[in-house]
């Protein structure tokens, strides 16, 4: 089934995973990092990157054993039709919840930033129609779209931050270790769930030509995401100071609003937020598609497309469930992110089972 979706290259895998992760920085995640690390929030981002890389190594090893297979196929081959399917369903469920809360988070952002008089339901429905179309078009089209939009997404990510550098005060980064080494390391480990979405690459494992492309795109995307997050958090702390930065629900938006380079380069937030829309659209499309194809694989459906309208309705329903933005932020921080660590560790469990049962092997690895 999924093999009909064509292939994605190392570069496309990287762009997909990086965009999925970096889009979160437009929401409340920089605030989480500053909250955990104080003035050393940027160091927390680096520690988080290190842990995420370590946690993802078993996934790389698993794909080396089963090159050309996606999450659903690997789960079934390694752990059998019951446990394997269960693991796939759990990961699909996490991706589903993650997609729904991201949709709500971005809808609230756009509501505040550019269309304050529009009901959030309208934004969610319009956005999800685009996502449904993306999933219908398939992974190849999605990867190419991400590739074309990638420069714009980078501009949207970095321009707002770089244009605020004149206001930055490096002294606000001190004390350099923030709340201390234990909180740095502990917080870094807890926040490594931020890279949980890189699991989408495992869901799309069938589309990589070889395990090497999978490995490189996954590790490179985590690494560069970590560096980007670190840079953004550093600028945020230097601009607002740690106490103020930790109170910002949409810190990137506030940075964008502060741009003032002469009379004509000001109030650019609407344009920048539109560029964020591209990142958000790619992110939601990819996590949604990963959820749908994994679910189709777990349910042994020959085609994934019939699931699209069903999951779209469910995503919109779940996205509307939280009472307000605060509920969304809390659920994401307290449940979805910590579970993200578990989601990365589940393939490690599969790896252990594969090693014990001697399934797959290095002979197939690239």
């Amino acid at each position: 089934m999924n093999r009909e979706e064509g292939h994605i290259s190392l570069r496309q895998g990287f762009v997909l995973a990086y965009t999925v992760m970096v889009a979160k920085l437009f929401l409340q995640y920089p605030e989480f990092l500053v909250d955990v690390g104080g003035p050393a929030g940027w160091l927390v981002a680096l520690v988080m990157t290190g842990f995420a890389l370590l946690l993802f190594l078993p996934v790389v090893a698993l794909v080396r054993r089963f090159p050309g297979d996606g999450l659903a196929a690997i789960g079934e081959r390694v752990a059998g039709p019951v446990l394997g399917t269960l693991i796939t369903l759990v990961i699909s469920a996490w991706l589903f919840v993650d997609t729904a809360f991201t949709v709500r988070g971005f809808s609230e952002t756009f509501l505040i930033a550019i269309v304050p008089a529009t009901p959030p339901t309208v934004l969610m429905i319009v956005g999800m129609l685009g996502v449904a179309y993306a999933s219908y078009q398939g992974l190849e089209a999605m990867a190419r779209t991400a590739q074309v939009l990638f420069p714009l997404i980078l501009v949207g990510t970095l321009v707002g931050v770089i244009m605020d550098l004149p206001r930055a005060d490096p002294s606000r980064l001190f004390p350099i270790l923030g709340h201390g080494l234990p909180s740095l390391v502990g917080g870094g480990f807890i926040m490594s769930g931020m890279a949980g979405e890189v699991i989408i690459l495992l869901a799309f494992g069938y589309a990589f030509r070889d395990a090497k492309a999978f490995r490189s795109s996954a590790l490179l995307s985590i690494l560069l995401f970590g560096l980007t997050a670190s840079f953004i958090v550093a600028v945020l702390i230097m601009t607002f100071g740690a106490p103020d930065a930790a109170q910002q629900p949409f810190p990137m938006y506030r940075l964008a609003r502060m741009i003032y380079l002469g009379r004509f380069v000001q109030r650019m937030e609407s344009i920048i937020v539109m560029l964020w829309f591209f990142a958000a659209a790619v992110r939601v499309s990819v996590t949604f598609h990963a959820c749908v194809v994994s679910l189709a694989g777990a349910l042994r459906l020959p085609y994934y497309r019939p699931l699209i309208p069903v999951i779209v309705v469910l995503v919109i329903s779940l996205a509307m469930a939280p009472e307000d933005l605060i509920a969304v932020l809390r659920t994401d921080r307290d449940w979805i992110r910590p579970l993200g660590i578990g989601i990365i560790l589940l393939p490690a469990l599969l790896l252990v089972i594969a090693m014990v049962r001697k399934k797959g092997g290095q002979t197939h690895a690239a």
């Binding site: 609407s270 539109m274 560029l275 829309f277």
Partner: protein, 594 residues
């Protein structure tokens, strides 16, 4: 009609038209069954005669071996029988286009023959001097050509006529009546002989063709100024003149049960992917339709997504551009009677390029490409951006400008989007009218219409002056897009973006752009992703928006999967000390000019 009859007709309540009024059958009349039956009967009779004759010829050829079997057609030995079949086939005597000229070949004894050709399609001078004259007057000079009858059947050798009596440069044998009819319709002359089951086809094609002219839609300042014409053979020659390589192949296909139009398929063996060539041929062969008379029609039959907003193949009227694409591994299709070539496959980026990009120096070519890309974005997005700004995001506009726009719009009763749609519709109207009205007054009318309508609309306070500016600039930018077809697509997609921006501001615009990129990313042209070589990214994708210096374009685009990837050696400017040192194989000081 008398006064009484007129009055009667006026008073008659039942019919709206008189019974005598001509109608093609909208009053429920039955078709003329007898006539149709007679025609079908005649067709069936002709076909049956052909089949019987074919079987007869096959049986006769069995003892003579494989070659004779291959050459056994459906022509009869009787000249009269063949001519009768031909007349029935061409619906003579109603049809006056087929000319049948009976002659006696000046052999000993004289042999009957019939020369057939189509009026207007054949060169009469060639027929007179190269066919009729040798057969009727000069053949008696050759003593080898004697009809030595035996049991009433001539042993007149067709080969002798072919080799010694017909000085035409292309003479071929035809064994089937359908083949003979096909070449007749193409303008050839066919000669039937008494006692021979073979006809001779002499190339006398001279269809009415205009001479090679200047390009109409792809004009350039630099570069060649010739363009394709309606004769595909001329077009192929124009391309061949630029590609003097024996590996350049021209295959001939035919489509259309009525049009029977020739399709010339050009590609370079050894460069073009055999899979691509086979696929183009497969798609053309699959066309079962009555008429295909233009590349535009052919394109719609063979492209991947006929309902797509953007073209699935590139049409060009420039032989130089066609030659360049062939050298990159593309396939070109020429439809007879169409002055365009169809290049397969196409990418989105190539629709924004022109031949001149390569004739100018690299910085100029690059600048032109960026201007065109800017024009595309302006055409596509400027109206939507304006609507999003004035309706939703006022804060982005500097205060003074915002005040000016607000004061200009103050007295306009309509919402901005209605103004824009109105002016855009009028602009499209002027554009379409300008294309259709006679060329002498066309530009004047267009100019007058746009000036007067614009000024009148502003003075009547129907639209604001800023909006006139927006529509005019986006309209002007649309003319900078080099490909006519993509221009249509962009104008359509512009309205979709306008709808998004009008309902949800930048959110709607962003959603529209995302879906649009997705749409393009999902498109393919003959198996090649439409956004290649950017997405998927190919290693040598430099020749997209940026136009690199010629000496750096070492490889052909990989998206066509050419068999030979390299188009020039790694260092072509060996005399240049800067580029020469880049070549690891060449040591400094050993260049051509050292």
């Amino acid at each position: 009609m008398t006064l009484w009859q007129s009055f009667k007709r006026l008073m008659d309540p039942s019919p709206t038209t008189l019974n005598q009024t001509f109608s093609l059958g909208d009053r429920g009349e039955q078709p003329v069954v007898e006539q149709r039956s007679a025609e079908r009967l005649a067709d069936a009779q002709t076909s049956a005669e052909g089949v019987i004759s074919h079987i007869d010829n096959l049986l006769n050829a069995v003892p003579e071996g494989t070659k004779a079997l291959e050459e056994a057609g459906d022509l009869a030995a009787s000249l009269d029988q063949n001519i009768e079949r031909l007349k029935t086939l061409f619906r003579m005597p109603a049809n006056k286009d087929l000319i049948i000229r009976e002659v006696q070949i000046a052999s000993q004894p004289p042999t009957r023959a019939v020369v057939c050709f189509m009026e207007g399609l054949s060169d009469k001078m060639v027929i007179n001097t190269h066919i009729l004259q040798p057969l009727m007057l000069l053949s008696h000079l050759d003593h080898h050509v004697d009809g030595k009858g035996e049991a009433g059947e001539t042993t007149f050798t067709i080969d002798t006529v072919l080799q010694r009596m017909l000085p035409g440069n292309q003479v071929t044998k035809k064994y089937l009546m359908d083949d003979a009819a096909e070449v007749l319709l193409a303008g050839d002359t066919v000669i039937f002989f008494e006692g021979a089951r073979i006809a001779l086809d002499v190339d006398t094609k001279a269809p009415p063709v205009r001479s090679v002219g200047r390009p109409q839609n792809e004009r350039t300042i630099q570069g060649s100024q010739d363009a394709f014409v309606e004769a595909w053979r001329v077009n192929v020659a124009l391309v061949r003149r630029r590609l003097k390589d024996p590996r350049v192949i021209t295959e001939i296909l035919s489509v259309g049960t009525i049009s029977r139009n020739y399709i010339g398929l050009m590609y370079i063996d050894g460069i073009a992917s055999p899979k691509l060539v086979a696929e183009v041929k497969r798609r053309i062969d699959a066309i079962k339709v009555d008429i295909v008379n233009d590349t535009g029609v052919l394109e719609q039959y063979i492209e991947d997504s006929p309902a797509a907003f953007l073209p699935g193949a590139l049409t060009t009227e420039r032989p130089d551009r066609t030659a360049a694409y062939l050298s990159e591994g593309h396939v070109a299709a020429f439809v007879d009677t169409s002055p365009y070539a169809l290049i397969c496959p196409v990418t989105f980026w190539s629709l924004l390029q022109t031949a001149e990009d390569y004739y100018l120096r690299a910085p100029y070519g690059t600048m032109l490409r960026y201007i065109r890309m800017g024009a595309l974005l302006i055409t596509l997005m400027m109206p939507s951006l304006y609507i999003a700004l004035v309706n939703y995001h006022h804060e982005m506009i500097p205060t003074e400008l915002m005040l000016f726009i607000a004061s200009a719009r103050e007295q306009v009763p309509m919402p901005a989007v209605a103004e824009l749609l109105l002016m855009d519709t009028i602009f499209e109207l002027i554009r379409e009218a300008g294309t259709r009205i006679p060329s002498v007054v066309g530009p004047t009318i267009g100019l007058v219409a746009s000036l007067i309508l614009g000024q009148a609309a502003v003075e009547a306070r129907i639209v604001s002056p800023v909006l006139i500016l927006i529509v005019a600039v986006s309209g002007l930018a649309s003319f900078a897009i080099p490909n006519y077809l993509i221009g249509f697509g962009v104008r359509l997609l512009r309205f979709a973006l306008l709808l998004g921006a009008a309902t949800l501001g930048f959110y709607g615009l962003g959603a529209g752009l995302f879906v649009m990129v997705l749409y393009l990313a999902g498109m393919r042209s003959f198996g090649v992703p439409y956004l290649s070589p950017v997405a998927p990214f190919r290693g040598n994708a430099r020749d997209v928006l940026h136009r690199p210096p010629m000496f750096q374009m070492e490889k052909r685009p990989t998206y066509t999967h050419p068999l030979d990837n390299r188009r020039q050696r790694e260092v072509v400017r060996k005399w240049d000390p800067i580029t020469r040192t880049a070549d690891k194989g060449d040591e400094p000081g050993k260049g051509d000019n050292s």
